[in-house]
């Protein structure tokens, strides 16, 4: 494929701004306004009022998350502290006959020192400065390891945002996904996690924010459920703390 052409894109953007005037103008006109007006009063924002008071206690949250993750076909586990995580990962890797892992490039995950507990495997960390290399490694890796940014118990969902150290592919390409979830990052409601995301200032807003609620699945063939279609087929959620 040819390289990106800034002139072409600039032309498209110019045409776009022209077209925008007509496009938005048409909408405003049909809605009985001369042009796009000021911010309307936004009275119905978010969930119904009673929802904000729905809160679960810590143990309940974790229990609920694990029930949901399991019901979706994932494997939830509870681990007392980060020091117990390496051996669980080692067990999973052996069960899945993994030969290589890739993790987000985060200190918490580096500290797991998987090289010591699983010396027979090759271990990699996502490198934002080597896109092609990282992608290839992800494609070959059997296990992808992420640290969840947030989690929501009510739906059994983890939130994983992208960054230079947190490639999206880590939680997507390998067939086994291991998500390490510090218990203090567990919310009750999905909206709480969304609020955290929304509060990130625009200049630091992640390009990809992924809400993951279990392994990849499809029922497209005669309504018969199959797990692991494009995304990871084995999804482990390790709740720590």
């Amino acid at each position: 494929m040819a390289k990106s052409d800034p002139e072409f894109l600039a032309r498209l953007d110019r045409e776009s701004r022209e077209a925008e005037k007509r496009f938005i103008g048409n909408i405003a006109n049909r809605l009985g306004r001369p042009a796009a007006g000021p911010a309307p009063v936004h009275p119905y924002r978010g969930a119904p009022d009673f929802w904000a008071s729905y809160e679960l206690g810590t143990e309940e949250k974790i229990g609920r998350f694990m029930d949901n993750w399991r019901a979706a076909g994932g494997y939830p586990e509870r681990i007392a502290s980060m020091s117990g995580v390496p051996e669980v990962i080692a067990r999973i890797a052996k069960e899945r006959q993994a030969r290589s892992t890739i993790r987000q490039n985060l200190p918490e995950l580096a500290n797991l020192q998987l090289e010591s507990v699983l010396p027979e495997l090759s271990h990699h960390a996502w490198n934002g400065r080597d896109p092609e290399g990282s992608l290839n490694i992800c494609e070959q890796a059997d296990v992808g390891i992420v640290l969840a940014d947030h989690a929501a118990a009510y739906t059994g969902t983890i939130v994983v945002a992208s960054s230079a150290d947190k490639g999206r592919s880590v939680s997507l390409l390998p067939n086994v996904l291991i998500a390490v979830i510090p218990a203090e990052r567990m919310y009750t409601r999905l909206g709480e996690a969304m609020s955290r995301v929304a509060s990130i200032p625009a200049e630091r807003f992640p390009a990809g924010v992924h809400f993951i609620s279990g392994p990849s699945r499809s029922s497209d063939i005669e309504n018969d459920l199959t797990i692991g279609v494009h995304g990871p087929g084995a999804a482990y959620a390790l709740i720590v703390g």
């Binding site: 809605l31 978010g46 309504n223």
Partner: protein, 499 residues
């Protein structure tokens, strides 16, 4: 992509009704999804409040679409998105082709997008020699079969395991057994290569969040994540009305959509994509385009009868609730969308009433769609309004117009009504056998093909009124004071503006 014969629902439905596998598959699927929704919404609780909130958010957004779309565009551009505008479907295809040609793209891999079907994007790519592969398992299957989707959420329900195995075996170059896991496994491997090779990833958009310029995609397979992560260029097609103001509002949509579509608490993946990759990111598209599509949507704005149509979040719950859809399946509906939403959307997006054919007639107006809709679109009312618009524009079957003139005369005054009933009582003597009419001739043939019509009694009710009222008098008992006071209270509260 080949389309079923005939543009009339009636003709297409005739074919569908005879296809036993199709009908069984549609019934099984819609029942499964309907039951899933019922269970999920009951478990969640307070569904009517959530529905109302969903309606409020969507209706508010649509009523201020100029504002929210402007915010979305501004915020998306600030994050590096190239935004484009497609007043008509063909504009969307033209812009996508422009981008693809300029980069010398050879292949496109796409995730599920109803808008992409609406604008016939695959055909456009094919015409200029660019391969465009569907990656959603169901869409991939029907692409291989060269057929349109038969359901918004589960596009290939009309295909059985053997048919799917045949299609995939041809692709594989070897015989695959009709086993789900094996077939899905093949699709995974085959499409994995396509994800890695493709120059362009094409996605749809479930919701655009105005406050951050984010494109939100719901899915279960992971293919939309692939399509928006691996290829260097991403093109997203977005219906112009698919916006919500804030991430707070996304919680409501995330509560309504999965439960309404499949009965899930959440789809396995929900991705918020805000611009192309950042400079320091190692993956994600280098270039991201969002094409905002009108294609008849703006026709609904400012029209009090149809503006709410734009509330739709494309969950498919109306399909699963509709008894007509359940009997005839998605292929009976001409156009991209099927079921109740399709029956309204296809005509509504097209300002030429002559091209609507009979699609708005494919409904008994039972209202199940409205009851099922998580954002409370009165589709059952809209179908009547469409029928009225057709009549007002003079697009009517001549026989029907005459029959309605007859109705107007006969029902316009009680004298004529009584004459008509009398005429029926006398005239039916030729047709009545054993108290019923079975004759299949004439306009009522459609009725008598399935039912016997009872003969009109010798005297209508009103002809017997004097006798009836006299006989009722013999059973008369005076009204109790309690009842009298109940009735009086009701009448009084009306005068006050209550009740």
């Amino acid at each position: 992509m080949s389309k079923p014969q005939g543009s009339n629902v009636k003709e297409r439905a005739r074919t569908a009704l005879q296809d036993e596998f199709l009908i069984d598959a549609v019934k099984f699927t819609t029942e499964r999804l309907k039951n899933g929704k019922k269970a999920a919404t009951a478990e969640h609780g307070n569904w009517e409040e959530w529905r109302e909130r969903g309606r409020q958010i969507r209706a508010h957004t649509v009523a201020h679409l100029d504002y929210y779309l402007s915010r979305f565009i501004e915020n998306a551009r600030a994050q590096g998105v190239h935004v484009h505008f497609a007043p008509e479907g063909k504009d969307a295809a033209r812009i996508a082709m422009d981008i693809a040609k300029h980069r010398g793209a050879k292949s496109v891999v796409k995730s599920k997008s109803m808008v992409s079907e609406e604008v016939h994007i695959n055909e456009a790519f094919e015409q200029i020699g660019i391969e465009s592969i569907e990656s959603d398992l169901g869409e991939y299957i029907i692409q291989l079969a060269n057929e349109p989707p038969s359901h918004i959420i589960i596009p290939a329900i009309h295909k059985n395991r053997r048919q799917i195995a045949e299609l995939l075996s041809k692709e594989a170059g070897e015989t695959l057994p009709p086993e789900t896991q094996v077939l899905a496994g093949f699709a995974r491997r085959k499409l994995r290569d396509k994800f890695l090779e493709a120059d362009i990833g094409l996605t749809g958009c479930n919701f655009g969040i105005a406050e951050t310029g984010t494109v939100v995609i719901f899915e279960n397979e992971g293919n939309a994540r692939m399509v928006s992560t691996v290829p260097k260029i991403q093109i997203t097609l977005m219906g112009m009305e698919r916006l919500i103001p804030t991430w707070d509002d996304l919680e409501v949509m995330a509560t309504l959509l999965p439960r309404s579509a499949t009965g899930q608490k959440m789809t396995m993946y929900m991705s918020g994509i805000t611009g192309p990759k950042r400079t320091e990111d190692g993956d994600g598209p280098e270039e991201m385009h969002v094409i905002i599509v009108d294609n008849g949507r703006s026709l609904q704005l400012g029209d009090p009868d149809f503006q709410e149509l734009l509330n739709c979040i494309r969950c498919g719950a109306c399909l699963n609730a509709c008894p007509v859809y359940r009997h005839i399946g998605g292929h009976s509906y001409p156009g991209t969308y099927s079921g109740p939403i399709g029956a309204v959307l296809t005509p509504a997006l097209n300002k030429n009433a002559e091209e609507w054919h009979d699609i708005a007639n494919a409904s008994s107006l039972c209202g199940a769609c409205y009851e099922a809709c998580p954002v409370k679109i009165p589709l059952h009312d809209m179908l009547v309004y469409l029928r009225n618009r057709k009549v007002e524009r003079g697009v009517t079957a001549p026989g029907e117009k005459m029959a309605m003139r007859g109705f107007k005369m006969l029902m316009g005054s009680h004298a004529w009504f009584e004459r008509a009933v009398k005429a029926g009582q006398l005239g039916q003597k030729l047709l009545v056998r054993g108290g019923v009419i079975k004759s299949r001739i004439g306009p009522l043939g459609g009725w008598t093909a399935y039912r016997h019509i009872p003969a009109l009694p010798k005297k209508s009710f009103r002809e017997q009124w004097t006798k009836v009222t006299a006989e009722a008098e013999t059973s008369f008992k005076p009204m109790t004071d309690e009842m009298k006071s109940r009735m009086e209270k009701i009448v009084q509260s009306r005068a006050k503006g209550g009740h």
